[in-house]
Symmetry: C2
Subunit: 875 residues, 2 copies
């Protein structure tokens, strides 16, 4: 670490993000680009780190450097903090290397006290402005720095308004505001037992420390966890000369994007409010005007802003999210950063910028986070269903997509219901950072106030969640547990549907449909396919799933589970008959009934997939899953099957296992009941032969034997399966080819992969089970401790969501190495849930797998992640 | 493979066991030692292997070589097979490289037919002998070679005896025997549709093939599995000139041991029968005379036999088990081999032979199989309990020890009941090889017929199982399901007690006591301790267990489980109170009650162990194990605890897990409820400090954190535990030392052992759980498929009994290597059940562990196995 802790804006640049935070680095960059930036300085993130390490204290060197930079700023501006005649006012803002909007604290108008308020009034010749600024400052400082509840201040304000008989803040005059200031100071004294500090240097230090303190407030910690932000030292603090958007009707403030962050359209986009401070726009309390209207209102400022927008986008080569303030007709830039965007926008902007030669194809690919595509792939409202539906209310289309759920009015309820597995729409007047957990848990978000850049809208887009914002017809009565639209009342727990793309709210549940993928999306996917080396298959058990996955670009089926096929209609009867048979003959009789149905299933899938590879896994779950467990259900079934209830009960209890996950399942079943594997092999091969004949295509089925931990299990079953397969091929005089392979999902399978590969033409890593056994975590039971593990930092991620590269990954790598040693051309895939998770896909690429296989909706994510893996590797 | 398939006895030697089988090699060896061996030849084990490989057919070369050796034998003896005047008769006997007594087939008197029977009658001038031999041969050949049921022949014999009005076979005269021969031949014709073969060469070939065939009969396969006999090509076949012990009162046959196989005493030991064939002694049908009586009966033969015994023991340097036959006053040796012996005998013989300078200490150590010690360590009848008990009947002390169980009259029942967890005494008139499974399942065996070398006695000694044989007062009425002794009736299912050392049967259950270990045992253990490098600790949860283990030579406690301490009396109440608490305070209140009890437990253990290390594992099982699960029990407990039944039910169901083995247990419990670990740490350290003060000894407790899969789990808990420990040490102003370490029992723990070792001073491999997770086998559920796996050869051994070196062992080795890389002086132990299993102990030695820990009764086994590991390594 250097010993320089404070940088003036002139001293920084955009590359210094880690040290100065995003805001600070970009203010510095804009300063050197000659843009109109109010001068200031940045206290570095290192200071934040030191502050915590020293038990929330600063070293003398830090204080000294702040003093020095403050003095330079005062000299530059020709004003002094707290001056009676012409005081310097500053803002104190947080700014980490990664943007965390609204998560940390900000203090504006700092430097005002009982004396300087008079100075500023004189200097601006605007008494009301001075006292309004002072009361805002006390309120913000009292709340943010001193920890007095917001409502305490509101009470004072309301009382003054009541006395005066007015409704709006703007209706209060200078004397009223003086009254408010007095009241505010009393509130602080009463609540905190100390007075509001009059010394501006003390105000400054307290504010800086408050910002550092807000780095570790619960909502900031929560935000970093949800957004997976790690490895930062802390936040920087920016101290900047105040400019005022609230100095009258030729002042204002706004937020704008160089392109549309929702659609990606290359059009200047934003909102502003006249006579307001920046927080008014972001907080969504007043509904702002579209940026276009500024052209008429203040043409000079607008032109300058558009020029800056163009310059910044070319400079940063990415879409910019900017904040500006106009003080008495003069434009100031307060912030620029790469703008958050929806997935659709990210794709469009990336493809457009490549066409505009701003960035390369590879850069374009890296501009879209694979997980973001989730948004694009999520369902939309079914057009026909929607035609029939009556729109209850219309708001702003703040984040696209569709969401169906039960109404919840608090973040807590939304979170709680989601934990129970219910689908929830969070309905709030407006959201605030405290609502983060509830928003994360909800299917979609509906607010009655706030604009396209309100908290709800920004956060929802970031999360890829459907959001309708500023829907003013909706009247939220949280305490009564209802919202009303005209004379219609919607209760908490009622179902509603949101169309985030249209900004519409619909009563009840509207069917949803698959997303249609735009041309830009296709282009980006093509680029990804050019780059990636890893194959992408899908996990699909039905022709329908296979169809969807193929549309999403799946290059085969990596996992076709056969057990789901056993549950439908007549089949479950035959399955149960098989289970209840006490001998091979009885089982074979029942299996004969299943054979044509299984064969039909496979024919359907082969027809869809054509010559693409299809890996079919033999029966995996323990047999008791096919029988009822409740006394009543058992008795009913016994009647239906015409067996004694006692016999059925005995069977159920004889199949009971203490740890079914580690029990009689997978290949263990087929070893004790080889006739099941024989039937399945027969169904697969007959289906392949039939489909090949019917379609004229070359069908090469891959038969996969699950849960192998010992090579002899595989050798034994390979013989059983192959005998049957060869018998059928001979009988049908077919020349069909097939492959036999195994899942590697038991640690011992990985440890002995060299031996296992002797009998396997392919491995497919079942990382769900492999994770269970490597950690000794039952996926069904980890809810009791894994969330706490993540909270306590014992685990970084839920290993069932993100592949544990340290442990599970070590076994995967070992198995790859050992397997390939035995069989050079061994095909290697992964078919756990991890196959569609970007960091896991990257791992698979690096581990040298042949392909990943994931659920149909994650196929595009895997394709892009596989491309990212290659591009990251090259770096 | 050479192309020599048949060896005359002159061509072999004892080192050729693998090729000639034990019997063949030793017959050859004795031949070259100049001993009186009837000439013959051996068809090699390679021929057995080839026979199976060729689909039970021989190559022409094999037949040619048999022909050649047969011709040589005929020339040497001056007799021809099937000769009308003076025929050569031979025996055909099995003989594998490892002795499998009674498991395979034997044919005697081969060469007799309708013509040669007359020749032999003439030559021996003994018509009755000739026809008796012929009828015996037909019966044996018909049964063994042609597969006619034994009872079919018995029927014919009984009918002739009935007609004649006699009871004993010996009362039949030549004409009667001719009648029997006729009847036997008819039975064969009727049963098999073909006649008894008159061609002696055909008889010979069929008999050789029958012996080869018996290699794979079910009881032989069973025997090999139970006795873990592997890697053999098959059996050899010995064709040997017949000598007859049944040629009258100056003929006889016997079995003898160079030392007492039951006690090891250096005294000539054995039994013989006059006018009998060898099988009569072994089968236990007639009760034979002690060998000592032969000295009087036939002093010359006895003297010669004693000389041979001395010579053979010196030659083989081990206790010999010999078979001999006296034909008309002339002694012939038919077999010698290293004798099976009880553990007590094995120990005594090994120690004695070392003293006699026959063998070295190291050889003596290798003479005792570690697992055999089990016998010595098993309980004996409590002397006081026994004094009070009334002896029901007295038989032969065939195999020492004590056994208590329910009477079962068939092997099937014994097996079935044992499967249900019941303790069984198998009671039979006599046992036969078909009873093997039942004998294996029984606690002990009681027979009413047969001597010390009867089937029951030999097999029981081999199994280390208590056996009382030849208890003629016991009248077994299998069909009625009772046995009677005088007018006392014992029903199937009644409890009896056997004293195998005294040969006594007692009604009811007599208490048993710990074995007292003889001086020779102590000597052998001392030698083992001199040699071994691996430490041997014990798994003990109570001062009593610790005491026992210390007596057996345990050098510390490797695993002290604390959960057992939670179940007793008042404690379970406090434990339940803790579980039912909904907050930390409630839990802490309950834990305060547990603290003094836990502390007391540990003080007791520390007092016993003194300065020996004691490793205490923190609470491991899931909390639901401490609550009832049945509705009724829950309601009762709710009343008792004064809580609502509903609340308790909710708690029970909230604690329910689908796979508890992979659930909320081990360190995961302590991470969510650190207060439990704190209480345990406090109890351990306070107990150590108190005991150190009281005894003046240096107590160094080792605190072990279970189920660690991720280093941060350990780091977190180490901090929790160490904070508490340091607090107490400071408060008590103690200077006590302690260690903190972890179990390696989760695959991920092994995979990341380098990181884990950063926070662990020792590792203890929990190979039970490690086996569960590495294989994905639930120990509680494997009964459904592991037996079938072993039967189908998919697994060689139950991996919960014998450590799987390929998979689980690979993880152990990896963890050893990684752990030591981080921490050179890392202490490494194993505390799974495998710690007392000899092959696993050998593995632990080779893997470089510091110690093994096993149940108290297995400590001596582990000590000897550890010595064997060193001695094997040196080879």
């Amino acid at each position: 670490m250097s010993e320089k802790y404070v940088y003036s804006f002139e001293e920084g640049k955009k590359e210094m993000k880690m040290l100065l935070g995003g805001k600070g680095a970009n203010l510095a960059e804009m300063t050197s680009l000659g843009m109109p930036i109010p001068p200031g300085f940045t206290v570095t993130t290192e200071v934040c780190d030191l502050y915590y390490k020293n038990g929330r204290k600063h070293t003398p060197l830090v204080i000294e450097q702040i003093d020095k930079k403050l003095k330079e700023l005062e000299e530059k501006q020709g004003k002094k903090l707290g001056d009676k005649e012409d005081p310097l006012l500053v803002s104190v803002r947080s700014g980490a290397a990664v943007s965390m909007p609204g998560m940390m604290d900000t203090v504006l108008n700092l430097g005002l006290n009982d004396e300087s308020v008079i100075g500023i009034a004189k200097k601006t010749s605007n008494d009301r402005f001075a006292w309004d600024s002072y009361r805002r400052f006390i309120q913000m400082f009292g709340n943010v720095v001193m920890g007095v509840e917001h409502s305490q201040f509101e009470e004072v304000l309301d009382k003054v308004k009541e006395t005066k008989g007015v409704e709006l803040d703007t209706e209060l005059d200078t004397d009223d505001l003086k009254e408010v200031v007095k009241g505010y100071k009393e509130v602080i004294q009463k609540e905190k037992g100390k007075s509001f500090p009059q010394n501006p240097r003390e105000q400054l230090q307290m504010s800086i420390d408050a910002v550092f303190g807000s780095w570790n407030n619960p909502r900031a910690i929560s935000y970093r966890r949800i957004n997976d932000i790690k490895g930062l030292l802390g936040t920087a603090v920016n101290v900047q000369t105040m400019v005022f958007g609230n100095m009258g009707e030729n002042s204002g403030t706004g937020v704008c994007f160089s392109r549309n962050p929702s659609t990606g359209e290359n059009k200047f986009y934003g909102e502003y409010l006249m006579n307001a401070q920046g927080e008014d726009v972001v907080a969504g309390i007043r509904t702002p005007h579209p940026i276009k209207e500024l052209e008429k209102a203040m043409p000079k400022c607008y032109k300058e802003l558009v020029e800056i927008r163009d310059k910044l986008e070319k400079h940063y080569k990415d879409m910019q999210d900017m904040e500006f303030t106009i003080q008495e007709g003069k434009l100031y830039m307060l912030q620029t950063r790469n703008g958050k965007r929806t997935a659709a926008a990210a794709v469009k902007i990336a493809v457009d910028m490549e066409k505009e030669k701003l960035i390369s194809k590879k850069e374009a690919l890296m501009r879209v986070e694979p997980n973001q595509l989730n948004q694009l792939l999520h369902k939309q409202l079914d057009p026909i269903g929607k035609q029939k539906a009556e729109v209850l209310a219309k708001g702003l289309p703040a984040s696209p997509g569709a969401a169906v759920g039960e109404v919840a009015f608090t973040a807590e309820k939304a979170h709680e219901w989601a934990q129970e597995g219910r689908k929830v729409i969070l309905v709030r007047t407006e959201t605030s950072p405290e609502d983060i957990e509830g928003m994360n848990a909800a299917q979609g978000i509906l607010t009655s106030r706030g604009g396209m850049t309100s908290h709800a809208a920004v956060v929802a887009r970031g999360m890829g969640k459907c959001c309708v914002a500023g829907c003013s017809d909706v009247n939220v009565k949280e305490k009564e547990g209802i919202f009303t639209v005209g004379n219609i009342t919607v209760k908490e727990g009622d179902w509603i549907t949101l169309d985030g793309t249209a900004g519409e709210v619909i009563l009840g549940q509207v069917p949803t449909t698959d997303p249609s993928l735009s041309g830009d999306f296709g282009t980006l996917m093509e680029w990804a396919d050019e780059v990636r080396k890893l194959g992408v298959r899908t996990n699909a058990d039905t022709p329908k799933d296979a169809e969807v996955a193929k549309k999403f670009g799946a290059e085969g089926i990596g996992l076709c589970r056969t057990e789901h096929m056993f549950f439908e209609g007549e089949r479950i009867k035959a399955v149960r008959e098989m289970i209840l048979s006490s001998n091979v003959e009885g089982r074979k009789r029942a299996l004969v009934k299943l054979l044509p149905m299984q064969q039909g299933d496979f024919e359907g899938i082969f027809e869809v997939m054509g010559e693409l590879p299809v890996t079919i896994r033999l029966l995996d779950p323990p047999l008791h899953e096919f029988l009822p467990h409740e006394e009543k259900d058992i008795e009913e079934l016994a009647k239906e099957m015409n067996v004694k209830a006692g016999v059925l009960k005995d069977k159920v209890s004889s199949l009971h296992e203490l740890n079914p996950m580690l029990g009689h399942r997978g290949c263990r079943l087929a070893i004790t009941f080889p006739e099941i594997a024989e039937m399945q092999a027969e169904a697969i091969i007959k289906a392949a032969i039939n489909t090949a004949k019917k379609t004229g295509k070359k069908i090469v089925p891959e038969i996969m034997i699950p849960l192998v931990g010992e090579v002899k299990e595989l050798a034994y079953l390979r013989e059983v399966v192959e005998k049957k397969v060869k018998e059928i091929i001979a009988k049908e005089k077919s020349s069909i080819k097939y492959k036999i392979g195994t899942m590697i999902e038991v640690p011992r399978g990985a440890l002995t992969a060299d031996a296992v590969a002797e009998h396997a033409e392919f491995f497919s890593f079942g990382t769900n089970d492999l994770t269970q056994m490597t950690f000794g975590f039952s996926r069904d039971d980890v809810g009791k401790f894994v969330p706490e593990y993540i909270e306590k930092g014992i685990l970084e991620k839920d290993p069932f969501q993100v592949l544990d590269q340290t442990g599970v990954g070590q076994l995967v790598k070992m198995a790859v190495e050992k397997g390939r040693k035995t069989r050079k051309d061994l095909k290697l895939g992964i078919c756990g849930e991890h196959g569609g998770e970007p960091s896991s896909v990257e791992f698979c690429h690096n581990a040298g797998l042949t392909y990943v296989s994931c659920s149909p909706y994650r196929v595009p994510i895997a394709r892009l992640a596989a491309a990212h893996a290659v591009l990251k590797e090259k770096k």
